[in-house]
C-alpha cells in the first residue's frame, strides 16, 4: 500500500525555467515531509523539508509547498539548472510512528540546456 505517491515518473524542463515536482499522500498521520535528490550510483541526498504546521519552506532555489487539506506537496526549483537533473524522492514521517521514512517512487527530472 503506497502511502506516498509521485504520479509523474519523469519531467523535462528547460534550463532557467521552473521545475515543479508533485507528491500526494494518503496517511493523515504524516507530520513531516522531506525531499531527497538522487544521482545515479549515489545514495539519496537530503534537499529540503517541511513540518505539517507550515505551508511553505524556502531554501535558495528550492521551495516546498504543503496543502494539508489536499494531502499534497510540491517542490519548486527556480531557476532550474542542468545539475538539477536527478531523481527526486518525496518522503514522509508519521506522528508517533518512530522516525522511519515512507518514500514515493521518485520523479526523474531532466533539465535541458
Amino acid at each position: 500500500d503506497q502511502q506516498v505517491k509521485q504520479n509523474s515518473p519523469s519531467l523535462s524542463v528547460q534550463e532557467g525555467r521552473i521545475s515543479i515536482l508533485n507528491c500526494d499522500y494518503t496517511n493523515s498521520m504524516f507530520d513531516y515531509f522531506l525531499w531527497y535528490k538522487k544521482y545515479p550510483a549515489e545514495g539519496p541526498t537530503f534537499l529540503i523539508s517541511i513540518s505539517s504546521i507550515k505551508d511553505k519552506n524556502e531554501d535558495g532555489r528550492f521551495t516546498v509547498f504543503l496543502n494539508k487539506s489536499a494531502k499534497h506537496l510540491s517542490l519548486h526549483i527556480v531557476p532550474s539548472q542542468p545539475g538539477d537533473s536527478a531523481v527526486y524522492f518525496c518522503a514522509a514521517k508519521a506522528l508517533n510512528s518512530g522516525y522511519a521514512l515512507n518514500f514515493g517512487k521518485g520523479t526523474s527530472l531532466l533539465v535541458t540546456p
Partner: protein
C-alpha cells in the same frame, strides 16, 4: 564533510549463497537505518537501530535477513540464503537521535544470479 560509508559498493552472488553488507555511520549518529531500494521504487525500511538496539525490524524478512550493530557504531546486514528477488540497492542511513533528516550512504548494489 562527514559521510556514511558502505561496502562493498557492488556484489554479485549466486542464489542460496550468503552475503553481507557493512555500514559505518557518520560519527555521533546514534540512529541507523537499513533500506532496500528495488529499481523504479523508493527506498523501503528494513531495520532501524538506536545505538545497539533494534527499534523497528517489522519489515525485515527474518527467515533470511539479519542485522546487527554490536557496539552501537557500525552495522552489518546479512542475507542467508540469497534469493533472486533480493537483487536491489541496499542503503544505509544515519542521523542524530530525534532528528528527522537522514543521511544516506552510497549503497550496495546486490545482484543475485
Amino acid at each position: 564533510e562527514a559521510e556514511v560509508a558502505q561496502s562493498p559498493r557492488y556484489k554479485i552472488t549466486e542464489k542460496s549463497q550468503a552475503v553481507a553488507f557493512w555500514c559505518d555511520p557518520i560519527s555521533g549518529h546514534a540512529t541507523l537505518y537499513w533500506y532496500r531500494q528495488i529499481l523504479g521504487q523508493g527506498p523501503e525500511l528494513l531495520v532501524q537501530f538506536q545505538d545497539e538496539s533494534v527499534v523497528d525490524d517489522s519489515q525485515l524478512p527474518k527467515d533470511r535477513f539479519s542485522a546487527e550493530r554490536l557496539k552501537g557504531v557500525d552495522s552489518t546486514l546479512k542475507i542467508q540464503p540469497a534469493e533472486l528477488g533480493d537483487s536491489a540497492m541496499y542503503l544505509c542511513a544515519s542521523t542524530w537521535t530525534g532528528a528527522y533528516e537522514q543521511y544516506f550512504g552510497p549503497g550496495t548494489r546486490l545482484t543475485v544470479t
